[in-house]
C-alpha cells in the first residue's frame, strides 16, 4: 500500500510535468511592438505619488524617475541580471518591478542621466562598501519587512553590521540571490569553525546537501537564541526527530530541557553526534554505586595479557551504557524507570 502510494505520487508529479510541457497553451508569439500594452511602471515619467514612492535614502533630491530602459542602455548586463530574478516581476505588487524598476532601489536617476552617467554622478544609491551598512540595508528593508526578514532589526547579524550585500548578490546571485552557490559555502565563509565541524565523522547530511543551514537557522533574525528558526532548540530538533518529542511516561530530564546537553548538531567524531564518547558522557552526571561509578580504563595487567577485547566490559564497549539503557530519550514502558524498557 505504501509502495503504491509512492508510485502514485511519482507518476502524478511526472504527469504534471508532462502536462505542462505539452500544454496546449501556445508558446509566446512575438508581437509587434505597438500591440504591447505599455506597463505603467515602464513609462518614461511617472507620478511618484500615484505609485507610492518609498522614502529612499538617496542623495538625489529633486531627481525624477526616468525608467529602467534608460538604465539598460548603459548597464545592460545589470539589467539582464535584474530581469532574471524575482525583483523584476512586475505583475507581483510586492516587487520593485511593479514600482520603479531599477530606480526602486537605486533612486530616481534623472540627474544621473542628465550628468552623462558615471560613478558617483547624480546621487544614486550604489550599494558599494563605501556606503555605510545601515544605509545599504535600509533600501532592502523598505520592502523586506515580512516573513523570514520581519525580525531583522535588532537581530544578531544586524547588530554585527552585516550588510544584505555581504550574503546576497542582487545582480548576480544564485537561487535566493546568494553570493555562493550553496548556503554551506556562504555561511562558512564567516562561521569557519562550522566548516571543520561539517567534516567530522558523525554529522547531519549538510555536506551531502540534503540539509542546509536554514534547515535549522534563520539568518535574518528570530526570536530564539542562536537564530534557531523555532521557539527553542528542542522544538527545532523534534521537527525532524519527532519520535523523541514524547512526552514519555518516564522522562530523562536533560533530554527534555536541551538536546545540546549531549549532542553537537554541527558534527562530532563520536556517534551519534555526541559531545563526549560514552560511558564518560553518562558518567558526567551519574555516579551512583556500582557500575555507573566504575573506572573503565585499561590496566597494565590488561596490556600484559594482550587484552584488546574491551567488549568484556558491557558498560564500556560498543554502545556502552545504552547497550542496556536503550530508551535513553525517555520510555513509555511501566518498567522504563531506568530506560531499559
Amino acid at each position: 500500500m505504501r509502495r503504491m502510494k509512492a508510485v502514485l505520487v511519482t507518476w502524478i508529479l511526472a504527469i504534471a510535468a508532462m502536462a505542462i510541457l505539452s500544454a496546449g497553451t501556445p508558446l509566446a508569439d512575438p508581437k509587434p511592438t505597438q500591440e504591447r500594452s505599455t506597463q505603467p511602471n515602464e513609462g518614461t515619467t511617472r507620478n511618484p505619488d500615484q505609485l507610492g514612492a518609498l522614502p529612499l535614502p538617496t542623495k538625489s533630491a529633486g531627481a525624477t524617475y526616468v525608467g529602467s530602459e534608460a538604465c539598460a542602455q548603459c548597464h545592460y548586463d545589470k539589467f539582464v541580471s535584474y530581469m532574471n530574478q524575482t525583483h523584476s516581476h512586475s505583475a507581483d505588487p510586492r516587487t520593485p518591478g511593479s514600482r520603479f524598476g531599477c530606480e526602486s532601489c537605486h533612486g530616481p536617476a534623472s540627474k544621473h542621466v542628465a550628468g552623462g552617467g558615471g560613478r558617483n554622478v547624480g546621487g544614486l544609491m550604489t550599494f558599494s562598501k563605501a556606503v555605510p551598512t545601515s544605509e545599504r540595508n535600509a533600501v532592502c528593508l523598505l520592502c523586506h519587512t515580512r516573513g523570514s526578514t520581519a525580525l531583522w532589526h535588532g537581530s544578531a547579524h544586524d547588530e554585527r553590521k552585516l550588510a544584505c550585500m555581504d550574503c546576497h548578490a542582487v545582480h548576480g546571485g544564485n537561487q535566493k540571490l546568494l553570493q555562493q552557490p550553496t548556503q554551506q559555502q556562504l555561511c562558512t565563509s564567516c562561521h569557519q569553525q562550522i566548516r571543520t565541524a561539517m567534516m567530522k565523522t558523525s554529522h547531519h547530511p549538510l555536506r551531502e546537501e540534503k540539509m542546509q543551514c536554514t534547515s535549522c537557522h534563520n539568518p535574518h533574525g528570530t526570536q530564539a537564541p542562536r537564530l534557531i528558526a523555532a521557539n527553542s532548540t528542542n522544538d527545532k530538533c523534534v521537527e525532524c526527530h519527532s519520535e523523541k518529542r514524547g512526552p514519555f511516561l518516564f522522562e530523562h530530564p536533560p533530554v527534555r530541557e536541551n538536546c545540546l546537553n549531549c549532542h553537537d548538531p554541527h558534527g562530532s567524531s563520536h556517534e551519534p553526534l555526541l559531545v563526549v564518547k560514552k560511558p564518560l558522557l553518562c558518567q558526567r552526571c551519574h555516579a551512583s554505586f556500582s557500575h555507573p561509578s566504575i573506572l573503565y580504563a585499561p590496566s597494565a595487567a590488561d596490556r600484559a595479557a594482550g587484552r584488546t577485547v574491551y567488549q568484556s566490559f558491557a558498560q564500556l564497549s560498543y554502545r556502552s551504557c545504552t547497550n542496556c539503557h536503550v530508551n535513553i530519550h525517555g520510555s513509555n514502558s511501566p518498567s522504563g524507570k531506568l530506560w531499559h524498557r
Binding site: 562558512t188 567534516m199 555536506r207 567524531s269 551519574h286 567488549q311
Partner: protein, 849 residues
C-alpha cells in the same frame, strides 16, 4: 520498501523528451547568443531616446543555472568566487519572472520555456565497501539524471528542479503560480541513512517488531552448563546460521505549500508535509547485567505536518503582524519490540542476573505516537520614536501522548507472578497496570519582547525579555515496583515506598540589555548584559541564575582589513544542590543515591569565558585571506565530581585568489581542540569507599579522574581553470579531515583493602580516530551554452581506529565483574563500519533549450 526509482527516472526522462520534441517540432527559433553587452552600450551611448523602441539591444532570453548535477564531492564549504561567473555569460540565477520583454527592447519575446537536463553515468569500484561511504547518499554504478524546467507565460510561472533522479537520494521540487495572485510549491525528497552493510544477525523477522531465534538454537543454549559452553555454542550458531543484513533507514518526504498573494498586503499560507521513515537501525536490548543483544530496531514512522499562517505588512507601513497554527502528528506503526533471548526458550525463575536466568523474550516500548499543536502570534512595530522597532512573540504549544501502556514484563515465571514477590498482580497482564494509556501531556509557552532603538546618533540600545516555559500535566503515575529487564521485580528501597514518574517542568526568564556605538566607517563597539533565571521542578537545583556580560568590537576602518571580535563572561549560580532530590520526590527516600559531591554539569555553578575573533584581509580585489580563532573555557566552581572544567580552541585560515577571469583558487585549513576533565568515585554501599557511611570526605583511593581530549584537523583546496575560454574548464577539489581522540585517567593507588580500583589506569589512545580524504578533478567541455560534456574522477578514503574495533567478536563472554554475574553478548557489528577506498569515474552530459 524500495522506492520506485525506475518509475521516477523513466517518467521524468519521458516528460523531458516529449517536451523537447514538441518544441523542436514547432520549429521555434532557438534562443540565440546575445550580442555583447559592449555592443549594446556602444549603441546606446548618449544618443538613444530611452522612450523609443530599439532593435539594437541584444536578444534577451530566459536562462538559469541551478545545479542539477549529481552530488559526488562533499560540499566542504569551499567557496566559489562569484566574480568568476561573468553575469553577461550566464549568471547562476533562478528565474521567476515573465519572459515578455519590456517594450523598449523592441525584440521578440523569448521562448517561455527553458529546459535543461543532466545525465551522468557512474562507475564505482566498490559501492558496498562500507556503509560510511553511502551514509547519506546512493553512490553506485549506473545512470542518474538531473532535470530543470522553467515556464513563463504572462503572469504564470512554473519551475521544476530534480536531482539524483532514479537514486535513493533523489529530490524534486516544483513551484509556480500566478504573479500577484498565488504561489504554490511541492517537494519530494528522499534521504537514505545507511548504518551497516553486512551486519550479521541470528534474528528472524528483521524489519518487523517481532524478532525471533529458532527454537532449536535456544533449546540447545538453554541446556548449557556454563558461560564458556554457552558462548562457544552461540559462536558456532552465528558462524553457521546468522544472516547478513544491511541496516538502513529511508526518509521520504512529500510536501506542498500554497501562498495567497491576491489579498496583499495580507498574505495567507498553508503547507502540508508527510515524512515517512522506514527501515531498521542497529540498537540493543538486554536481559540483566552483562547480557545484551544487538537488535535491528524497526522503524516505521510517519510524521504529518500542517501549518497555516497569515501575515500582514505594507512596505511603507509600520506594522507587521502574523499568526500561525501548526499541527504535527507523529505515528509510530510499532508500539513495542519483542525480541527473543538467545539463551532461553522458556521463562526462568533463576536468580537475578545470571546468564541462564531471565525471560524467553524481552519487550521494549518503542517511541510512542504523539501529537503537537502550536499557536503563535508575532507583532512588529517600526519607526517608533528614537528610530525604534518593537517586536513581540507569544506562542503556545501542546504536546500529547496517550498510547496504550504495555505490561510490565513478558516473563511468566513464578518470580514475577506470585504474591511472594510482592506483586499483587500478574506482571504480564496489562489489567494490573495503574492505567491502560500513558496520559502524558506537556504545554509550552514562549513569550518574547524586544525593543531596539537609537536614542542618540550612532548609539543603539536594545532591550529584550524572553520566557520559555514547560508545564507538565502528566497524570501522576505511581508504582510499587517495576520489572527490571524482564528478569525480576524490583521494589523500592524504602519499605512501602513508591516509584513515581517525575513530571519534569521548568521556566526560564531571560532579560538582556545591549548598547552599541558606531564610529568611524562601519566600526562598532558594544556591551551587553544578560540575566537568566531558570526555575525547575523535580531536579537537583530549584533555580539557576546566569549573569552574562558580552563585549564586541567590529571594524572595517583599516582599509582592506576587517575585524570582528567578541568576548563573553558567564557566571552561573544555583540554589543549594540536593543530590538525592529525585529519590525523595519519587517516594523512595532511602534509595541509595548519587555521589553526593557530584554536580550534574547542566545544574552546576560555573564561570565561563568565551572569545572569538576573525580578521579578513582583502589583499587585492582578487585575493583575500582570513583567519579566525575561538576559545571557550568553563570552570565548574563548586564541583568536586562530575565535570570539573572544559576547554575548546578553534583556529583556522582561508584564502581565495582569482588572478584572472580564467583562474580561481581557494584553500582553507582548520584545527579544533576540545579537552575537559571529570571526576568520580568508584563505590558500593557499606564498603570503605561508601561516601555516606565509609569515606565521607572528599579523599579516597577509589576516586578517579578522566581527561578526554579530541583534536580535529580539516583542510580543503579547490582550483578552477578555464583552459580554453568558455570552452574547456578544469575544476578540482581536495578535502581532508582527521580526528584524534584520547582518554587519560588518573587514580590514587592503594591496595584492595582500601582501594576499589587498585591499579594504575592507562589511557585509551585511539578514541574514534578517523582520517578522511576526497579528491575530485573534473574536466568539462562546452560545445555551446546548451550542450556540455564532462568527465570526472572521485577518490575517497576513510579509515577509523577505535578501541571498539580491536578484537571485536560477534559473541563475547562477559566475565564476572565485581558483584555482577557473568553474561554473554550477541552482537551484529552494526555500529562498526569499516574503512574504505573508493574510486568513482563518471561522465556527464548536460543539454538544454
Amino acid at each position: 520498501m524500495k522506492p520506485p526509482y525506475s518509475h521516477a527516472a523513466a517518467a521524468l526522462v519521458i516528460a523531458w523528451l516529449v517536451g523537447s520534441a514538441r518544441l523542436l517540432a514547432q520549429g521555434q527559433p532557438a534562443a540565440t547568443e546575445p550580442a555583447s553587452a559592449e555592443g549594446a552600450q556602444a549603441q546606446a551611448s548618449g544618443t538613444q531616446d530611452p522612450t523609443q523602441a530599439s532593435t539594437l539591444f541584444p536578444v534577451w532570453y530566459l536562462k538559469s543555472n541551478r545545479n542539477i548535477d549529481p552530488r559526488v564531492r562533499p560540499n566542504a564549504g569551499l567557496r566559489t568566487p562569484m566574480a568568476y561567473y561573468p553575469i553577461a555569460n550566464g549568471p547562476l540565477l533562478y528565474p521567476t519572472f515573465s519572459p515578455v520583454a519590456p517594450d523598449f527592447l523592441g525584440v521578440q519575446a523569448t521562448m517561455p520555456w527553458s529546459l535543461r537536463g543532466s545525465l551522468a553515468l557512474f562507475g564505482v569500484d566498490d559501492q558496498r565497501a562500507s556503509s560510511k561511504l553511502q551514509e547519506f547518499r546512493d553512490l553506485r554504478d549506473g545512470i542518474t539524471g538531473g532535470l530543470e524546467a522553467h515556464y513563463r507565460e504572462g503572469r504564470g510561472t512554473f519551475n521544476l528542479v530534480g536531482r539524483e533522479l532514479g537514486r535513493g537520494d533523489q529530490d524534486l521540487t516544483m513551484d509556480g503560480g500566478t504573479a500577484g495572485i498565488f504561489q504554490w510549491s511541492m517537494l519530494y525528497d528522499e534521504t537514505p541513512h545507511n548504518y551497516a552493510f553486512g551486519a550479521r544477525s541470528l534474528y528472524g523477522g528483521v524489519g518487523t517488531n517481532t524478532l525471533t531465534i529458532a527454537d532449536s538454537i535456544r533449546r540447545d543454549l538453554q541446556n548449557s552448563t556454563s558461560i564458556a559452553e554457552a558462548t562457544a555454542k552461540l559462536d558456532g550458531y552465528v558462524s553457521r546460521s546468522a544472516q547478513s543484513i544491511d541496516e538502513a533507514l529511508r526518509r521520504q518526504r512529500v510536501g506542498g505549500e500554497f501562498t495567497l498573494v491576491a489579498t496583499y498586503p495580507f498574505v495567507a499560507k498553508a503547507s502540508f508535509s508527510n515524512e515517512s521513515r522506514d527501515g531498521f537501525r542497529p540498537w540493543s536490548g538486554s536481559f540483566g547485567f552483562g547480557e545484551y543483544v544487538e537488535v535491528p530496531w524497526p522503524v516505521k514512522y510517519d510524521t504529518r505536518d500542517l501549518r497555516v499562517s497569515g501575515e500582514w505588512a505594507k512596505p511603507e507601513g509600520r506594522v507587521y503582524a502574523s499568526g500561525s497554527y501548526r499541527l504535527s502528528d507523529f505515528v509510530d506503526h510499532y508500539a513495542s519490540l519483542t525480541f527473543d533471548n538467545p539463551l532461553r526458550l522458556t521463562d526462568s525463575a533463576n536468580p537475578v542476573g545470571t546468564y541462564d536466568g531471565g525471560p524467553a523474550a524481552g519487550r521494549i516500548a518503542l517511541y510512542p505516537s504523539n501529537l503537537y499543536h502550536e499557536a503563535s502570534g508575532t507583532l512588529v512595530v517600526k519607526n517608533l520614536p528614537m528610530h525604534a522597532t518593537l517586536n513581540a512573540l507569544v506562542s503556545f504549544g501542546f504536546m500529547r501522548q496517550n498510547e496504550p501502556v504495555i505490561p510490565f514484563s513478558t516473563n511468566t515465571s513464578d518470580v514475577l507472578t506470585s504474591a511472594s514477590s510482592g506483586l499483587s498482580f500478574n506482571a504480564t497482564d496489562s489489567a494490573g497496570l495503574p492505567r491502560s494509556t500513558a496520559e502524558t501531556s506537556m504545554n509550552t509557552q514562549t513569550v518574547h519582547a524586544q525593543w531596539t532603538g537609537e536614542p542618540f546618533k550612532n548609539f543603539r540600545l536594545t532591550g529584550q525579555y524572553r520566557l520559555s516555559k514547560l508545564d507538565n500535566h502528566e497524570t501522576p503515575l505511581t508504582l510499587s515496583m517495576f520489572v527490571f529487564e524482564d528478569q525480576y521485580a524490583r521494589p523500592t528501597d524504602t519499605p512501602g515506598g513508591t516509584f513515581r514518574a517525575l513530571p519534569i517542568a521548568y521556566a526560564t526568564h531571560t532579560a538582556t540589555g545591549e548598547g552599541s556605538y558606531n564610529f568611524g566607517r562601519d566600526s562598532r563597539v558594544s556591551l551587553a548584559y544578560t540575566f537568566g533565571r531558570t526555575n525547575r521542578d523535580f531536579r537537583e537545583v530549584a533555580w539557576m541564575d546566569d549573569n552574562r556580560v558580552k563585549a564586541s568590537f567590529d571594524t572595517r576602518h583599516f582599509g582592506p582589513v576587517e575585524l570582528k571580535s567578541w568576548y563573553q563572561f558567564t557566571n552561573r549560580s544555583t540554589a543549594p544542590y540536593l543530590f538525592n532530590q529525585s529519590s525523595v520526590l519519587q517516594g523512595d527516600p532511602l534509595a541509595v543515591s548519587n555521589l553526593p559531591y557530584l554536580r550534574k554539569f547542566d545544574e552546576a555553578p560555573y564561570h565561563r569565558h568565551e572569545a572569538q575573533g576573525m580578521v579578513t584581509w582583502h589583499l587585492t580585489d582578487a585575493a583575500s585571506l582570513s583567519g579566525h580563532g575561538e576559545y571557550i573555557a568553563t570552570n565548574f566552581t563548586e564541583s568536586n565530581a562530575g565535570v570539573l572544567w572544559d576547554r575548546r580552541k578553534v583556529y583556522g585560515v582561508d584564502f581565495s585568489y582569482t588572478p584572472t577571469d580564467r583562474v580561481s583558487v581557494f584553500a582553507d585549513a582548520g584545527f579544533e581542540r576540545t579537552r575537559y576533565q571529570q571526576a568520580s568515585r568508584q563505590w558500593f554501599p557499606a564498603t570503605f569507599a561508601d561516601p555516606f557511611t565509609g569515606e565521607t570526605g572528599l579523599l579516597s583511593n577509589s576516586n578517579w579522574t578522566a581527561t578526554p581530549r579530541d583534536h580535529y584537523y580539516s583542510a580543503g583546496l579547490g582550483i578552477d581553470v578555464n583552459l580554453i575560454d568558455q570552452k574547456l574548464r578544469l575544476n578540482a577539489q581536495y578535502t581532508f579531515s582527521k580526528s584524534a581522540g584520547r582518554q587519560d585517567y588518573t587514580s590514587p593507588l592503594g591496595t584492595p583493602a582500601n582501594d576499589l580500583n587498585p591499579f594504575v589506569p592507562l589511557p585509551f589512545t585511539e578514541v574514534d580516530n578517523t582520517v578522511w580524504h576526497t579528491f575530485n578533478p573534473e574536466l568539462e567541455y562546452r560545445w555551446s551554452r546548451a550542450l556540455s560534456l564532462a568527465a570526472g574522477y572521485h577518490y575517497e578514503k576513510w579509515s577509523i581506529r577505535d578501541y571498539n574495533y580491536r578484537g571485536f567478536s560477534y559473541v563475547d563472554a562477559i566475565p564476572p565483574n565485581f558483584p555482577f554475574p557473568p553474561g554473554v553478548a550477541l552482537l551484529m557489528g552494526g555500529l562498526l563500519p569499516p574503512g574504505y577506498n573508493a574510486n568513482v569515474l563518471y561522465v556527464r552530459v548536460k543539454a538544454g533549450i
